[in-house]
Symmetry: C4
Subunit: 289 residues, 4 copies
Amino acid sequence: MKTTKTKYELWKQKARVIIYGTNTPAGRLFDIIILFLIMLSILIVMLESVEEIDQKYHEILLISEWVITLIFTAEYILRIITIKKSWTYIFSFYGIIDLIAILPMYLSYFFTGTHVLATIRSLRLLRVFRIMKLMRFIGEASQLKTALKASRTKIAVFLYTVLIISVVIGSLMFIIEGEENGFTSIPRSIYWTIVTLTTVGYGDIAPQTELGQFIAILIMILGYGIIAVPTGIVTVEYARSKRRTRENEQTDPVVRKNMCSQCNTENHIAGARYCHHCGSPLDNTEQLF
Amino acid sequence: MKTTKTKYELWKQKARVIIYGTNTPAGRLFDIIILFLIMLSILIVMLESVEEIDQKYHEILLISEWVITLIFTAEYILRIITIKKSWTYIFSFYGIIDLIAILPMYLSYFFTGTHVLATIRSLRLLRVFRIMKLMRFIGEASQLKTALKASRTKIAVFLYTVLIISVVIGSLMFIIEGEENGFTSIPRSIYWTIVTLTTVGYGDIAPQTELGQFIAILIMILGYGIIAVPTGIVTVEYARSKRRTRENEQTDPVVRKNMCSQCNTENHIAGARYCHHCGSPLDNTEQLF
Amino acid sequence: MKTTKTKYELWKQKARVIIYGTNTPAGRLFDIIILFLIMLSILIVMLESVEEIDQKYHEILLISEWVITLIFTAEYILRIITIKKSWTYIFSFYGIIDLIAILPMYLSYFFTGTHVLATIRSLRLLRVFRIMKLMRFIGEASQLKTALKASRTKIAVFLYTVLIISVVIGSLMFIIEGEENGFTSIPRSIYWTIVTLTTVGYGDIAPQTELGQFIAILIMILGYGIIAVPTGIVTVEYARSKRRTRENEQTDPVVRKNMCSQCNTENHIAGARYCHHCGSPLDNTEQLF
Amino acid sequence: MKTTKTKYELWKQKARVIIYGTNTPAGRLFDIIILFLIMLSILIVMLESVEEIDQKYHEILLISEWVITLIFTAEYILRIITIKKSWTYIFSFYGIIDLIAILPMYLSYFFTGTHVLATIRSLRLLRVFRIMKLMRFIGEASQLKTALKASRTKIAVFLYTVLIISVVIGSLMFIIEGEENGFTSIPRSIYWTIVTLTTVGYGDIAPQTELGQFIAILIMILGYGIIAVPTGIVTVEYARSKRRTRENEQTDPVVRKNMCSQCNTENHIAGARYCHHCGSPLDNTEQLF
């Protein structure tokens, strides 16, 4: 069913293996360059936010920023044209992240004429979201994901209970301590309750009355104790998902989760070199981490 | 033994299914409306406590508050008249919560004439306990409950030990640091000890002497280490209660815990549509969460 | 081999059952009274330490204090004369605690003539150690103890590693931040490092330089992560000791750990009413908690 | 294949058993002396850093310091000459640590003539790294190591995710709170985010705006919850490595990991007195802890 590929088609396929795959030397190199550029770019955004550094090296930072943006733009365009289902990529999570990584610079360029400097500044800061491009390089850690998914409802119930406790105790503290001791409103009292319950304890607000300190002690001990609940849940679920994986490995044939970059079919047999659905060659993409 | 039902009886039964049940579209809608009203109501109480907002929007907040209170009153009356064992409901946990949710507004109305403004203010704040109405929507999480119940005595012993340690070390710190460093009394020193032991660490009181700082280090490491104890207990008990549930599921017929709203009988067989004790139709109440 | 008991001997035995035992109504009452008096006594010591309260109610507190001390003295004397091996009790852990609970009051009385007020004050504060009398009422929680004992060496290695890390990083921070930012000496820097590592975070000392803040981030993440280590150890050991106990219960005859109050023999068969070693009746002492 | 040993060779072997081994009385004594000297030395470095103490006791501290340095130098030389593969020791981890333990004093002596006092001071502080000599005395805790190794990738993914979250939220807080509330730059905002996420909570920077406090609440609850993840991972891996060790112990012959001090061969059978590779006597080195 394969069509005879034109020269362009062949180039596209080669480029796709480099851009989307990681098990060829070129693909690996491509990933490492992108990884390095993301980190450099985050560093630049951070340095820009430090006033003294920005004043001194404004020019250099700006030029580096534009170079990186142009490279990321090229990467974005390449990703679109080499993949077959372009629209699937564009509206996928990573497609949107890749767009957000380049958009702020272009927008800030067009808005320079206007006087809304604050807006431009915020826009430029959005570049920090480039760090989410890094998520592509995180391995699956699928057992952990399964465990967290299985824990979801229980942890939701737990957080829900914590929230109810926080609202009730926060309101109590608002009545007991009052405005003169920094508990100026119920939302602020709830903020303090959560600061205490999670054992963060900034100390920007602290109870002054004897009764307030006594209730604070109860909240602290409660917070200190109930941290055992999510920990217990995640541990048990993780142990279970791990045991299941082991059991599955002993009975099922090993199956790879690699997605075919042509037809998005998943679950190929280990060692498979061609997609079992559309017959195009698989990248045998492995995760960097 | 069933009596031929009058029209009123039929209406009551229908209303009961809507109010107490959650597996009919109308019942589900009723729950969602109540849920929304509770949250709105909590928001109003919070906003009222922020002075600037209260001064601006006092009228709107007050009117919304009365509307919500009236709806909750209607809900309370409906719950009483539709259920057969009204008194059981009235003196049940949720019955009392439902009453507390509406009482403060009426009381604050009657006390307006007097000059005890502080009392009225506190009264009105009691409305925040409405959040406990939300507990009705929390699922059972029965394994977790079993685990926490099984851990109870051990965690009590743990907390008891923590308390003894806190009193002893708190008194020691009172002697070592003394009033000039903020340790003005033994209760205050114990407060500081628990702030440190639970790793909250406000920093409103901090040891200044070398010996005090050395003991502080010991408390911190102790607190950092012994958090492992409740965590270990809950994890092990939870794993155990989970394993038991699984074993039971394999041998026992599946049993639903739904309470019959007529005779309060529990433990109906899965899929049961009539109470096996009094024959009235079951709501097949499922939990929202 | 039993001697015919005199009237005094019989009274002693009865008193012993009440004082040392907990499974007769009188014994239980005795324990509850002592428990109440300990807590009252701790409360008095605490209230005395609050200056305003002490100035107002000095007389009442002092008289209550003397009454309680006299009761504890009577208890101490009774414990000595009713038990057969008096010296074993006197030099046992609880014997010393019982003595420390009464000594400070008598000593402070004899020292009143002298001018060393500070010493007297400290002496009187020692009464707070009475709280350790409460330890008698803590149940065995033997599985937890077994788990903690089994974890001992591993947790020691863990703490030892934490200490080495703290000294190294503390010294580094002393060089980086220096005296001008509050890191006035290495011990103080180590104090700060442990405050950070254990996630207490008072904020009385905080890094000001960029490098210092960067290292602080590393310490925090380290501290946040390595708390998993003692938790993991205790959880696994506790699960193991629990499993073992269950296995033992299925094979071994159930054995009571009750100590014979006459000959200190332990490990009596469940339900045993007489000591298998000396033949004297057992109190079948059960724990209050 | 053994050569007839000269007197010097025999002395060397004896010395080696004392210096490297711990199961002879002399070897044990040697270890305890070194342990004591390390701790004394760390204490001296700490005391020197406290200005008041340094001014009073400068002479005594300096002399003690030199005495200890000379003893450590002797130990270092003995370690080199008694072992057969001297260069292996010199470039081993402990070899380098032993050198670093003595070098700073000699260097500071030679640099005294120059005016770079700050450098000398830093140099002298490097002596604190002597504490790493203590690592020689830490037992293997091999199951824990195995567990931590097995958890490595998962914990790396976890930390990586935490980092991404911190950068994104840190940047958001920089926009929301701004310079006027202490969030002066993105790196500083990230520092605050990690202080909050790890529940350290110094309170040197705290959100002032309502939105900022709301986001702070989310971070705290997130941090409070996700601590369950590393804990779960380590617990499960530790339980697994422990189970495996137990299973291995039942099937494999017990094998000692003692390294032969002559040829560095490991894994000798329990109770072996001669190296199975080179035939030289084994020290049967056991760990102090």
